[in-house]
């Protein structure tokens, strides 16, 4: 018995060693945002069905993805990165310094929704009301910042339901949270005179106030998993959740989105830019890898084909909100001609 175990071990080591280490890569590697992940994976799968090796897609977050992507050129670095925001100047500089030329492709929009269970009451809010409900500190009667005193929705406005404020949302590591505080909370904070003045005087201090979510139990960090939030909303009709539009779209039978500044979060409203809490999604391709890693150009073509990102494409089924026709055309043209990003 001992001998057979020993020989098995030897054989296994031999197999491991013989499979070789640094083989030339023939598979596209993609990293980046977890928001774009569901869309890029869908394209990767389709791309793999046409005969090439299916790209490997990792969800590392936008910032983490940029770091890996801009690390340099070569087989050890990813070929694409997903981003739920445009590349920052600093990141672009890192990229350039390391000899990486990113090609920017804007692939579509994503809306962030505030939603609750169908069995609960529908809600209509302005961004200012969202800020009053969820900010850690709000301007008091004299314009000075005080700890948020609002316990019930009706404390903010008598027209809102007389129910406890209870909102489940993602943690600060999430891109959805970033976008929510930037679009909804900042947008709401700007509506207050004292904060608007602060924004002009000291942008950093303003951001600190606008981005600070309550910590007294009215806002609950529910983890990165949006499905978990959906399940908790079903169990508690009084609670609201913050998540990406695709989750509302896929769970339309259970959830209803709150109207924000008078607009329902629907496919059409987000696509038209009427719904206020939405952002653009991007992918970045590494120009230096085109022609080196097989399938780079074909992957860009697949992503920018109408069959994928068009209004009737399979990405729309996954919840991606397509760009307007003209913009899609120009983005596709720039991407296919490998035009590098310009700031």
């Amino acid at each position: 018995m001992r001998n057979s175990i020993l020989s098995m071990t030897v054989v296994a080591v031999a197999i491991a060693a013989s499979s070789g280490f640094a083989v030339a890569r023939d598979q596209i590697k993609i990293v980046g945002s977890s928001t774009v992940f569901p869309f890029t994976t869908a394209v990767a799968e389709k791309f793999g069905q046409t005969g090439d090796k299916t790209p490997v897609v990792e969800s590392t977050g936008t910032g983490g993805g940029m770091k890996l992507f801009c690390q340099g050129v070569g087989e050890g670095t990813p070929d694409f990165t997903n981003a739920s925001r445009a590349i920052k100047e600093k990141e672009l500089k890192t990229c350039m310094d390391n000899g990486v030329t990113p090609i920017q492709i804007k692939v579509g929009f994503d809306g962030i929704v505030l939603a609750n269970s169908k069995s609960g009451k529908p809600l209509e809010l302005t961004k200012a009301q969202i800020f009053l409900a969820l900010a850690k500190e709000v301007p008091g009667a004299d314009g000075k910042l005080i700890a948020n005193p609002n316990k019930m929705w009706s404390d903010i406005d008598a027209l809102l339901p007389n129910a406890k404020i209870e909102v489940l949302g993602p943690p600060p590591t999430s891109g959805t949270r970033d976008a929510f505080v930037e679009l909804a909370m900042e947008g709401g904070a700007k509506k207050f005179e004292s904060l608007a003045a602060m924004r002009k005087a000291d942008k950093k201090a303003f951001k600190k106030v606008a981005h600070a979510m309550r910590e007294d139990g009215a806002f609950i960090e529910a983890g990165e998993n949006d499905n978990l939030i959906v399940q908790k909303l079903e169990a508690n009709p009084n609670a609201f959740g913050i998540f990406g539009f695709s989750f509302l779209d896929q769970n339309a039978d259970k959830l209803q989105g709150a109207r924000i500044d008078g607009e329902f979060p629907t496919f059409e409203k987000i696509a038209a830019g009427d719904y206020g809490v939405s952002r653009s999604l991007f992918i970045y391709a590494k120009k230096e890898h085109v022609g080196v890693i097989p399938g780079m150009e074909e992957f860009i073509i697949e992503y920018t084909s109408d069959n994928a990102w068009g209004p009737d494409g399979y990405l729309a089924d996954k919840g991606l909100i397509p760009l307007p026709d003209a913009e899609r055309e120009s983005q596709a043209k720039d991407a296919r001609s490998l035009k590098p990003v310009s700031m």
Binding site: M1, T9, S19, F21, E58, G76, N225, D253, K318
Partner: protein, 531 residues
């Protein structure tokens, strides 16, 4: 103490401190304490068992739908007109599937309806057909009955998991349809249907009393003359309907069946039209529910109906193999050396303390180490089971060393002394006598370490194994993922179909674990020796 046999009946005469009244009270208390302890122990076990049963039944209950799937049988035309036998790979298989599907719905003409028909089957159907042809070219040349998986929402509807409650009502009033397809009107001879809608309070009533049902209202499906129509607007005499399944004739019908779907169409992921079509296909026996082979043999996918667990199972197997091959020999050798050969001095004590501390290091730290050393320094490929196995081996090593040392220490010294006494060398003593006796304990420790490694995702995050990987890995350097990562990723996808897949993947992971444990138990039984 004159009575040789003192009985308790005469206790009042005896003043022994072990038998007097106080003693009895004490005894009773001690028995009561013992009884209480037993009850609490049993209760603790019962509560634990209850939680376990609760957990397992939830998972199993959720997982069962994922093990079966619905398939639609199509007559696909594989004649040379469609597929050039010399270049079968390039043919447009999506189109072949689409044509076969549309042939089943000859009454469907509008572009939108055709899109809806295409949406009934999985978007990967064409690709599955391509693979079927590639694996067996002899099916080319004629028409083939081929089963393709249905779309994930259709599958959920057929499994009764999509929010949908129906009520049926039989009406005896006569209705005369104006057409057999498209939009039509029904002339009603009685107000029964109108009253049914009116009494339910659904829809908007206009001034003349007619009721309009929008997509935000519950749906009324009328089964009439062998077809199905959806009620749009109704007054006491006439109803306007959209026909979703053509009627066999336009003559007056004697009665109709009304089906009310409470969930409004706008809030469902499946439309009334699709429900009518699916029910017809089901009635015709063209949709069959069978064992979900795709789930057990496929790799990851973004479509729930195409997602399979096999890629992750292979990835886990490869990773565990690397972990075992690295950590078992190294761990056991280290334990033997430290226990049997190493001098007991300050250095060995330092090493011992460090090993014990390593066992308590959070697993993500090993991932960071793997990223820094294996990926950046050794330049090994990202996302590869080889690197994953190496990282997990580092994590498993302390567990194996500690367990192996305990097992070696538990071998009685008499065994060693006897072996040394008859002239065996130190190495012979250890390898011929001590190690075989310690083997059961070592295997137990190994399996605990391996089971821990099997369930890890955190260290793999850093080395790129938490990724979407469709192709099934063929070797140790191919990109791969592992079972717990697959569970984690499926739990995160928005499509409701993945919820069942998640539970099913958890069951597969548990099964994998049970198999690993069974192997260890088997090996342990073979090595077990009593003394």
């Amino acid at each position: 103490m004159t009575d040789a046999n003192p009985s308790f009946e005469s206790a009042d005469q005896i003043t022994d401190r072990h038998t007097d009244g106080d003693a009895r009270t004490r005894l009773r208390r001690r028995y009561a304490a013992e009884f209480r302890f037993k009850i609490m122990g049993a209760a603790a076990v019962a509560v634990a068992a209850l939680f376990l049963v609760g957990l397992l039944s939830t998972i199993v209950g959720q997982a069962i739908p994922a093990f079966r799937a619905n398939f639609l049988q199509l007559s696909v035309d594989l004649s040379p007109g469609n597929i050039d036998p010399a270049d079968a790979k390039r043919a447009d298989y999506d189109k072949i599937v689409r044509t076969a599907l549309l042939a089943m719905f000859p009454h469907v003409t509008s572009r939108q309806e055709r899109r809806a028909v295409r949406g009934l089957v999985s978007t990967g159907s064409g690709n599955l057909l391509r693979r079927a042809v590639a694996s067996d070219a002899s099916i080319l040349g004629g028409t083939l009955e081929y089963s393709v998986p249905v779309d994930d929402f259709v599958d959920l509807y057929l499994k009764g998991l999509l929010a949908e409650r129906s009520q049926y009502a039989q009406l005896d009033s006569t209705a005369t349809p104006s057409a057999t397809n498209g939009s039509a009107s029904l002339t009603l001879d009685g107000p029964a249907l109108y009253q049914l809608v009116r009494s339910s309070g659904h829809g908007q009533t206009s001034e003349d009393g007619s009721i309009r049902l929008t997509s935000g209202e519950p749906s009324y499906l009328l089964e009439i003359n062998g077809g199905v129509a959806k009620l749009q607007e109704i007054s006491a005499e006439v109803a306007s309907v959209d026909i979703y399944r053509p009627l066999q004739s336009a003559v007056a019908s004697g009665g109709m069946q009304v089906r009310v779907i409470e969930a409004p169409e706008a809030e469902r992921k499946i439309s009334d039209r699709e429900i009518v079509w699916i029910d017809r296909l089901k009635d015709d026996g063209l949709i069959q529910n069978h064992w979900n082979t795709i789930f057990f043999s496929g790799g990851a996918s973004r479509e729930p109906e195409l997602a399979g667990i096999w890629g992750a199972v292979v990835g886990s197997t490869l990773t565990m193999l690397v972990t075992l091959v690295l950590s078992f020999p190294v761990g056991v050798s280290a334990a033997i050396y430290l226990e049997e050969f190493a001098p007991k001095n300050r250095w060995t004590r330092l090493i011992e303390v460090n090993i014990n501390n390593l066992a308590a290091v959070p697993s993500i730290v090993f991932g960071l180490l793997g990223l820094a050393v294996f990926l950046n320094w050794f330049a090994l490929p990202r996302s590869a089971p080889l690197v994953g196995g190496m990282v997990l081996a580092l994590m498993t090593l302390p567990t194996i060393i500690i367990a192996s040392r305990a097992a070696i220490r538990a071998v009685p010294p008499s065994i060693r002394e006897a072996a040394l006494g008859i002239g065996a060398s130190k190495v012979q003593t250890v390898f011929h006598h001590v190690l075989p006796l310690a083997m059961p304990g070592i295997l137990t420790g190994t399996i605990i370490g391996m089971a821990q490694a099997l369930g890890e995702t955190a260290p793999l995050l850093m080395i790129g194994m938490v990724a979407f990987i469709v192709d099934i890995p063929g070797g140790f350097t191919d990109a791969a993922t592992v079972l717990p990562v697959q569970v984690f990723m499926w739990a995160d996808f928005p499509e409701p179909g993945f919820q069942q897949k998640t539970a099913a993947a958890i069951l597969i992971l548990l099964g994998f674990l049970v198999m690993m444990n069974a192997l260890a138990v088997f090996l342990r039984k073979r090595f077990e020796r009593r003394w």
